[in-house]
Symmetry: C3
Subunit: 130 residues, 3 copies
């Protein structure tokens, strides 16, 4: 269920974006132990002046390859979240050539009430999902 | 006050989008019992590869007509939320030809502090809104 | 660390947008007492029919100059938040010619777990940031 919003700079090919989405999805499914079809991804492509990403003095050098993921999700454990961060940085580096220095993630948590996946129903309340 | 972010695939006409916004607004006003001018709506249009929406195995067949709404709102009751989901699915189907299988909603709740509607003021704190 | 999403109508020049981002960043740094390089900003530009912003009866007349900021942040105090609203309205008016009537802000709070600034690490958990 998490909903993932991907923010990248314009210039990536459709294939590159698809690959990033696929790799991220695999890591997310493993870290959060959700079904493979629990996939909800949005992409926003920005011009250079539409995305300003510094580093709070941490020493990360951002490039045109920068990727920000804003995830909306039910509460996850600290263990699941840190596993997600670590594995995503590793796999995007290895498989998509996105450096860990170019990866930023922010998570917004919400509740069971807060999801309707279709049919006008709240599937976590009806029991269709648990 | 809720802020609604609409995500659709490119290809809808301006009129179709306006109609979706109008119908959604009417349903929201009734479900949450807010003033008619409590309207804050944003639209993002995505290319096919920029929006991947599956169904967590629930059996919804997504089409090019898919609509995701991400709503930012003060806390609403479970009753208000489920009414919103149900009525929105019904009305978008009837009035905008969007199937309930193509409608997904996610809500992020926040607090009274978290809104300034203009003038640099927090209207829920000043008492201008309650 | 806050992540700020700026929503404006199409038609502003790159220079105008950069100026809005700079002015907002300065106000944010002062209000929240964060490092100057704690800067994470995204811009979305909308066509007229893609952004509908009314005023809940408060009497604000919105123009093509309207700016909505959706901020994702750790918890801030009520004092910090109201200072941010007030100073931002004042400075955008004075320096960017955006009327306080055209400025709306919504904040979504999250937790220390919820941020990875790079390297696959959760810097508020590792102690790299505090």
């Amino acid at each position: 269920m998490p909903l993932l919003k991907f923010h990248v700079f314009e210039g990536k090919s459709e294939e590159e974006i698809k690959h990033i989405l696929n790799v991220t999805h695999e890591v997310m499914v493993e870290a959060f132990e959700v079904p493979a079809s629990d996939r909800y991804q949005l992409v926003h492509e920005h011009k250079k002046h539409q995305m300003v990403m510094e580093d709070t003095g941490l020493g990360y050098e951002r490039t045109d390859n920068f990727l920000l993921i804003h995830m909306i999700s039910r509460e996850r454990t600290k263990k699941q979240i840190t596993k997600f961060y670590e594995n995503l940085a590793k796999d995007l580096d290895k498989k998509c050539n996105i450096s860990p220095a170019d990866l930023m993630i922010s998570i917004s948590s919400n509740d069971d009430n807060d999801w309707s996946f279709g049919g006008g129903k709240a599937q976590f309340l009806t029991g269709e999902l648990s």
